[in-house]
Amino acid sequence: MNETVREREVAPRPRYLQWQTVAEYVIVVAIVLESIFFAVYAPQFLSLPNLINIALSIAITGILAVGMTAVILTGGIDLSVGSVAALAGIVAAMVAGSSAPGAVALAALAALGVGLAVGVFNGVMVARFRVPPFVVTLAMLTICRGLAFVVTDGRSISDLPPGFALFGREVFLSVPVPVWLMLLVFAAGWFVLKRMTFGRYVYAVGGNREAAFLAGVNIKGVTLLVYVLNGLLVGLAGLVLASRLGAGVPNAGNQYELDVIAAVVVGGTSLNGGRGSVIATLWGAVFIGVLNNGLNLANVDPYTQRIALGVVILLAVLADQLNKTRGQVIA
């Protein structure tokens, strides 16, 4: 059965012409081009501190984008990531500030716990009750944002112990901890999706649900697990966010879902499910991170920046569509 799934994946075309390879190739070229452009316009752009800065700026989006990639691969979507990350960060900040023994470690567990709980909820609603993921997570978006304000009474939770800076502000081997965490998450995401049977099932569920079902894939189980793992990553992102800000902030993470979905889509993962990869998402996140950073460094006014980002997302999806239809006999 594992073989059935794999057969679908291996296209008759040579590896270098496969859809995914082409998509990754295009985005990498785009990153190189935009980097050259910004290096000319902003002398600071190519400095090592700035490159680390770019990595830091995409760390939270990146962590979220790995989970989102898996969710989108199943044909789903998660709109709640920003709100849930904010809520997880707030809960972590509350625990960290409680002066209980081991407060910082407990805070980390609490953040993951919040993410896990929401992930289980989303997963059960989608997998067991077949509520469209769009609706479930849209509801969670508003519920968790509301909770974030209710729990904090609209004020930030600050005055955290110095140890809480570990997840967001500390630097290990000249690279900030959030960047290490992001790289770790990407590596884990790649391994799970590409090297584990479970990962192949994820592709199968989104690629051809009926075929997956006939092949005996536990569709409900796979879907549920994807949302649960995604929830854990959202919790982790919330922890990093709160640590970076040095506070649990109720309005933090607003519209992160858009940034995250943009990274996934620009990377080339199809919103229809079944096609894409975590590595492509990493490139998508890098591309957007470089774009935001370069425009800021070149002092492009904020209005124009928005237009640029919108155009880029549009082009990426257009490229995806062209790529997809070209190989098909019947459009």
Partner: protein
């Protein structure tokens, strides 16, 4: 396709914010009666504004009927309806929605009740006077503070929020004042969206792009606190950051000697007093300025003692 549906749903969601109507009763005899509908009663700013209004109204012998719109347009509309039914002599309004409140103001106009807005302006309807903090001068004060603190030399940046008028005014005031200092260049203006996480990212880019950056002006405290997070993780405690609003968290950061050195503080009590003053003038048949700017002040570690 999915994104389309998403956009549509978000738009619907925003449009269909919950509607709850409230009903507050006031009234009584004696003196002129003024109906007040505040934006909220939960913020310190509005509590102080209310205190300023009450104090001045007591002195002038007016009776205030104070209600809170709780940031809910529908609630505020019904409060204004009530004021019209009660035939108050004037209405003071802090709109929950500048445009959406216009029909309610027009109703009051039709009933010949003069309307005054405080803190937040309305768009539409006849308003006798709008009383608000002087955001331009707030920006100037921030610029002056940073200029002095960095000795009139070096690059400075602004973490702004260009989609909000008050934010733009603060930014403009800051830039204008900085023109007086030939040694200082406003090297970067970025949008922090008025929220901390976006301000943090913007400030990090700003620090990377401008190695000679010495000062940052955050057009509100979340912008300034985001910049402070960037300064602290970048070990740039030498920066001079100035915020706006002096919320408790910012005050704490100033007092502990962080890079956040000062804050522009609005004076809500004065705002309340000036509003009553404008109403008194109007009652006396004197001309009233359409737009009244209430001065702001700057606070730092020494004045916060």
């Amino acid at each position: 396709m999915r994104l389309n549906v998403y956009a549509l749903c978000l738009a619907l969601l925003v449009g269909a914010t919950s509607v709850l109507s409230g009903c507050n009763k006031g009234g009584g005899a004696g003196g002129k009666r003024i109906g007040v509908t505040l934006l909220t009663r939960e913020h310190v700013f509005y509590k102080d504004l209310e205190a300023g209004l009450k104090e001045a109204a007591d002195k002038a012998g007016y009776q205030l009927i104070v209600t809170s719109g709780d940031m809910d347009l529908a609630k505020q509309q019904s409060q204004i309806d009530n004021f019209i039914v009660q035939k108050v002599d004037a209405i003071i309004l802090c709109p929950a929605d500048s445009k959406g409140i216009a029909p309610a103001i027009e109703k009051a106009n039709a009933a010949n009740i003069p309307v005054f807005t405080a803190d937040i302006a309305a768009q539409g309807g006849q308003v006798v006077a709008h009383v608000a903090s002087d955001n331009l001068s707030g920006g100037r004060l921030a610029a002056e503070y940073i200029a002095k603190a960095i000795g009139g030399q070096g690059d400075v940046g602004i973490i702004g929020q260009q989609e909000v008028q008050s934010g733009l005014d603060r930014e403009t005031g800051f830039k204008e004042e900085m023109k007086k200092y030939p040694g200082i260049k406003v090297a970067a203006v970025l949008n922090g969206g008025g929220v901390r996480d976006k301000a943090l990212k913007a400030a990090e880019d700003m620090l990377q792009g401008n190695p000679n950056l010495k000062g940052i002006f955050g057009i509100n405290d979340d912008s300034a606190l985001g910049a402070l997070s960037a300064a602290e993780s970048g070990k740039r405690n030498d920066l001079v950051i100035v915020g706006y609003d002096a919320i408790p968290e910012a005050v704490k950061a100033i007092q502990r000697g962080s890079a956040l050195k000062a804050d522009v503080a609005q004076q809500p009590r004065d705002l309340g007093a000036k509003t009553i003053e404008a109403i008194s003038k109007h009652f006396a048949g004197q001309p009233v300025e359409k737009s009244i700017a209430v001065p702001v002040k700057i606070v730092d570690a020494s004045s916060l003692k």
